[in-house]
Symmetry: C2
Subunit: 215 residues, 2 copies
């Protein structure tokens, strides 16, 4: 049963992927635990990228449109998916939400997934890059404890770096754990509050958006 659901999702994800490529969009699937700072990080990312790399956003939540409202402060068009009790986004939900966005002029599509370090790892949405946030407040061992999520990451964003000292965060241990579980992932250490690391991350996105993806 679960296998059949995942296989159906994988097919619809490939359909999304074809659609996104035809529209020339770079697509990010952004994942993390609840409260790791995804929404603020994405709002600041879109603000920094500006009109050079115009972004649209799809955001998933069990309840409330708090995140959608916060993301709209960036000026980007935002479509909301309310999942109710569903713990992850699926390709079909994304396809429906994207229809609400005017894609003309957009070069980047950001999908903010439900805050959950387990289930969303199994669902391809048709993205080009999986971005996993990992806050310094969560403890250094999260990559070891949630391996499927981190193994599937193309990029890991260490977030809330401004709180590292207050939390007694062991940076070397966190980086060593990441290297062990996700040796190929690009890592950016950031604070959306102070702006630390945001330039390097945005420059990375600009470069990725310049290169067309292989079919």
């Amino acid at each position: 049963m679960r296998q059949a659901i995942l296989e159906k999702n994988d097919r619809l994800a490939e359909r999304n992927r074809g659609f996104f490529r035809a529209r020339g969009l770079l697509v990010l699937n952004v994942l993390s635990a609840p409260g790791s700072g995804k929404t603020t990080f994405l709002r600041e990312t879109v603000r920094s990228l500006g009109p050079q790399l115009r972004a649209g956003i799809v955001v998933g939540d069990l309840a409330t449109d708090n995140d959608a409202r916060k993301l709209r402060e960036s000026g980007a068009p935002v479509a909301q998916i309310t999942t109710g009790t569903v713990c992850h986004l699926e390709a079909e939900m994304v396809a429906r939400a994207v229809k609400e966005l005017d894609l003309n002029g957009l070069r980047l599509l950001i999908i903010e997934n439900v805050g959950n370090l387990v289930c969303p790892a199994s669902y391809d949405l048709g993205e080009d890059l999986r971005i996993v946030l990992f806050s310094v407040t969560e403890g250094e061992d999260k990559p070891l404890k949630y391996p499927p999520m981190f193994q599937a990451a193309d990029v890991v964003i260490i977030s809330k770096a401004d709180l590292a000292q207050a939390c007694g965060h062991d940076r070397e241990a966190a980086l060593a754990n990441l290297r062990r579980i996700a040796p190929k992932a690009r890592v950016f250490e950031t604070s959306a509050k102070t702006g630390e690391g945001m330039d390097a991350w945005c420059e990375y996105l600009r470069q990725e958006a310049r290169h067309p993806r292989d079919w």
Copy 2:
């Protein structure tokens, strides 16, 4: 299909509940997002309770025995459940794990669930009390964004209170959100690091353990 799984789980959870009552155990199902500080909080809880209210622990994780090792520092017997890719504990897993524990002399059984604010809310384990941790680092709106988890909470532990100032935590907003979603839940504001609030929480457990549960 999902309905059938949940119904089977509910039956096995009642069997657990009967077993636990026959053994005179007060049973806690402890839930939260990844990185909210469950393990440290529980280690300090067991240390504070001491031999007056002897505890055993069942701990669930996708991978690693990091939490089990940390919990053993409290002196309590600990049984580990490794769930692989399963995002929650089920009643049957708990029944199997409990067989590994010597229950003689125990008055409290603590089940530390997988770090996930969504899926574990649907699975009764046969507990007496659901305890949900909510760290000040996660943002004040988590009860609104993950309502099923907070609606099912008997107790909400606000954790990492020592970091409130560094995070710019808005205490009144967090408490107002909790009252709205979980008006009947008992709330304790704690820091396992400084000890703040731990006495009140442990005294609550002692009182709960004194009162036999209704059948």
